[in-house]
Point group: C2
Chain length 603, copies 2
């Protein structure tokens, strides 16, 4: 992993836990469900994928998440948090109905268990009338220390426990659990009585009537094996609470658990391998720009969902701790809290990755769009995301957000525009979305000064006006650099094209719509699914305004299939979203037009 | 309400609670946030809207939900559950930052508080460092009795409490609470000590470190006033747990709380006013068809989210209690549970209203579409919904679902087709969506036998083939009856058109795509937003296949604005989704074509 990078710290924390689970259960038959899934490396190593680790998260290598296409030991390809308990409930009920006696284990972290979906599942655990073991892997961390009341509660419990307490709890569970013919309530009562104090962390789960055991030491492999053996025979759902240490065994990771949550290549002394000098990321530019704006406008507050670092808000949190809210893995509540803040007259900026914002769809609809509240959504990781793969691509946000009245959708092409978009957003009185990719900002001096103009609602920028040209390339967001590069290459062959930076997907600029009535060939380019995306919005707007589309049109974007982990650039190439493909498309379009006398009759 | 119908039982339960809140707080300045919001009638009556109640939920009358456009006493227009606590947190923090001392009250039911968003909010309540009162209105009912572990826990508490206990708790809170200079923890300790037993329902909230008071009698208006006075002075968040009885004071509603949750017109003895004989609803046809299929195929199981009655599953639950799962207001977990069931080899049918399925977007993406599991989504209330208004229209499902690979989207035109669609779905090995509206099934003998053919993946039905005609009407779902009626009227004027029943929105039939290459005028009709809807899918498919669109095209659907409560037919008329509009559109299209020599040059 020092060469490939990956989710190091979480995986080091669950080595003993994973080995003990595999020692007791037979996961060819039994089912192991991972929550989030990025902590499955040990599991992969011992299920036949050890030799593939030099290509972890690389194009031809294995995924960083469980993946049924890799191994029969993997059940679900997952990367979003909080889903394992609910899935396990369904699986347990289903296996029960089909007369199977497979054991089912869901492994969930303390950061995931506070997610709303986890809670909804815990509230429904009673539906299961057979074995189902939930292992709560409590390392007191999400990427940052876990937030919220449940985390505080776990942490109070943790602080009150000595290592000796953990051993005593383990022994007590083992002593009482295998007793045959005892109801689980009675067993738990007996365990409690024999302990120095009541099981302190059981309160929450007791109120939900869920048999709770623990906390125990998650690095004591011998005890874990005994505990899993005992618990695998229970014919009812149960929770085992284990303590683990993120980064365990590798001291640089133990000391900087945040950095090693998801790391790039590093030296064995912990130093990062310096990558060649790169331009800043969109994330960094967002963080800096927001900080600048917040210094001038004290209405600005920021909300994130366990992703302070990932969304570039570390500087903001440091500078304005009382204007920064991390709500934990709770994207739905994050948006409702933002709606309340906006209602009170503030300017909340919600920074959530595109793929996780899918969790907030209904709240954005009801609490924000329907009330027309000026919440600013800064949607990072919009587009394909590279090594994290299919669970993490942010390629549906334009679609689900542009269906809502009042929502303004915008995407900056580079660093200058990201700042301009933010300034524009702060000045608006409607909800507004700013999307940008997991990428460095491009160097785009050639688009200045056109793209240095302030954002105006629904106004695009003509970056390059072709000469008597038949084709316009209309790009949305950071793919402008590809559109411009395509135009440069086409110009070398004497083909002149317009290049337009759309800036807005809702509303679509009338000037873009007009192009489709002129009979000019139009190529739309976006880093989003073709279905419901920017190109689709252009088609709809043109149809509504003109009653049809006069010229030929091609849409470039992510086609209707899932894209595996790979380099982001490779994924863009595979999807056909780059200068090459744009230029080829333009040439084909011209050829077709010449053959049939375009624009009057192009088909 | 006996004349207009509405949410009677829930409103009768909160009369005293509402009056006491208004007596103590000044909601012109203070903020009252309703959860779900259908229990706001008393509030509306005493805030100037008493005389409007004869037009409750009618076109020119007041909404059945809080609505800021009606009154400054209403904060948020809401109808989906579980959002009030999170919104209140944001509002409280925002008002705090702006130096306002308004009191904030969130009123949430026991069915709403188990929703994942509520839990995420409770987990973040500690963010608020000032007054915020959550009133937990516990009537032990959603529409059906509340489901899940929390409900059972509340119910254990409820059963253990006598009326005398409630009074004692009230007096103890009042005795201890106003003490100035005491920390809230100490106050709670004192209250607990002076009670016969520990506050039994406090366990759940204590583990979350939330100051909890109660349970108290929610119909004892004098005590409530005193309690609210005392609690309004607390400078920290707190929960007051009150018991109320749904339907209180009107014995027919007390006795049949489910029927009177949301009732049509009724007589004062409780009898329903018989509406004129109508055809069965899509909902009823779904329920019966599923029951028939389930008798033949024991893999079929059904999952709903607190909407057994509303989704037509009462018969199924009665016949197959062990194959029916009601997970409470937990749409996200419902879908993950279904994914688990499908993984185990069953055929789960998830029956959720379109508007509430927005809560499941991310789970449908990750646990169902990405794994390609054969979950069947029966999406009721798809389209505009009439009296429930803007929070409840189901007009975004096509858009958010068709972005996902593997998803098959279908919509039956009538009862025969709904049954055929279900049969088709059970035979498929992919996730599939069947959408249908809140409406009676149309009588459509004229579309037989064409529309009696079994569903074939991505295959549309030509219902009527025009003679040398220039126009095709392509309809998706139940609006076929409007398309057919438009064709009938046009035929009277000697205008012949094709009528096509699309059946599928994903994949779009190649034959429909081909129409757009022929230069024929096409009118798409759907009961969904124009953005990202069926027509949009047709445009995208045609562009991808043909490189452009040859003929004129018009799309009829719900435009980009919110539609108020009204009759469903009026909303369809307002949106321009009916036979009139289709016929007019066809005539305009022909006129434009004649003027400019269509199809070669139509713009």
């Amino acid at each position: 992993m020092s060469k490939t990078g990956g989710h190091l710290a979480s995986n080091l924390g669950v080595v003993e836990l994973t080995l003990a689970l595999h020692y007791v259960f037979d996961f060819k038959k039994d089912k192991l469900l991972w929550d989030v899934g990025h902590q499955c490396y040990t599991h992969k190593i011992i299920t036949g994928r050890k030799s593939s680790f030099d290509r972890l998260r690389c194009s031809d290598g294995i995924s960083g998440f469980p993946d049924p296409s890799e191994s029969e030991y993997d059940e679900f390809l997952v990367g979003h948090a909080g889903t394992s308990i609910a899935t396990a409930i369904g699986l347990a009920m289903g296996q029960g109905r089909r007369g199977k006696d497979d054991r089912i284990v869901a492994l969930v972290g303390d950061a995931s268990i506070v997610n709303g979906v986890s809670f909804e599942a815990l509230n429904n655990l009673h539906l299961v009338k057979r074995q189902l073991l939930v292992v709560l892997n409590d390392n007191s961390m999400a990427i940052d220390p876990t937030q919220g009341a449940v985390a505080k509660y776990f942490s109070r419990v943790r602080l009150s426990q000595t290592y000796e307490d953990l051993r005593r709890t383990t022994n007590n569970i083992l002593e009482h659990l295998p007793v045959i013919g005892k109801g689980v309530e009675e067993v738990i009562e007996r365990i409690k009585k024999s302990l120095r104090m009541a099981l302190p962390a059981s309160q929450l789960f007791e109120s939900l009537n869920i048999p709770y055991f623990g906390p125990v030491d998650g690095h004591d492999i011998n005890s874990l094996i005994k505990l899993f053996r005992a618990l695998s025979h229970q014919e009812h759902p149960a929770i085992l609470h284990v303590y683990t240490g993120k980064g365990k065994g590798f001291s640089p990771a133990e000391q900087d658990r945040r950095r090693f949550h998801s790391t790039g290549p590093f030296r064995m002394n912990g130093d990062a391998v310096k990558s060649e000098l790169q331009r800043p990321s969109f994330t960094e530019v967002f963080g800096e720009s927001l900080l600048e704006l917040a210094e001038k406008d004290e209405r600005i507050v920021a909300i994130t969902s366990a992703m302070c670092d990932g969304t570039g808000l570390v500087g903001f949190r440091k500078k304005f701790p009382d204007r920064f809210y991390d709500v934990g893995i709770a994207e739905s509540a994050a948006v409702d809290i933002a709606a309340g803040l906006a209602k009170a007259g503030l300017k909340p900026v919600v920074a959530i990755y595109s793929t996780f914002l899918q969790r907030s769809f209904d709240q954005i609809f009801q609490e924000v769009a329907l009330q027309n509240l000026p919440v600013i959504f800064c949607v990072d990781r919009a587009g394909v995301v590279g090594a994290d793969g299919p669970t993490h691509h942010g390629i549906m946000d334009i679609g689900f957000l542009r269906m809502m009245p009042n929502m303004v959708l915008t995407a900056p092409a580079d660093a200058v525009e990201l700042k301009l978009a933010l300034e524009f957003a702060v000045g608006e009185n409607s909800p507004i979305v700013i999307r940008y990719p997991k990428d460095c900002v491009p160097e785009q001096k050639h688009v200045r000064p056109a793209c240095s103009q302030p954002f105006e609602l629904g106004r695009s920028i003509v970056v390059k006006r072709g000469k008597d040209c038949q084709i316009a390339i209309v790009s949305y967001g950071s793919v402008l650099k590809e559109a411009f590069e395509a135009a440069r290459r086409l110009a070398k062959d004497g083909i002149s094209v317009d290049v337009i930076n759309a800036r807005f997907a809702a509303p679509v600029d009338e000037n873009i719509v007009a192009l489709l009535g002129e009979g000019k060939g139009v190529i739309t380019v976006e880093d989003h699914r073709l279905a419901c995306g920017f190109g689709s919005a252009v088609l709809e707007s043109a149809t509504a305004a003109l009653g049809g589309i006069k010229g030929p049109i091609r849409m470039l974007g992510v086609p209707r299939r899932f894209f595996r982990h790979d380099l982001r650039d490779s994924q863009l190439m595979e999807a056909g979203i780059n200068a090459d493909k744009i230029a080829t498309t333009a040439r084909e379009m011209l050829k077709a037009c010449e053959a049939i006398g375009c624009p009057r009759d192009f088909a």
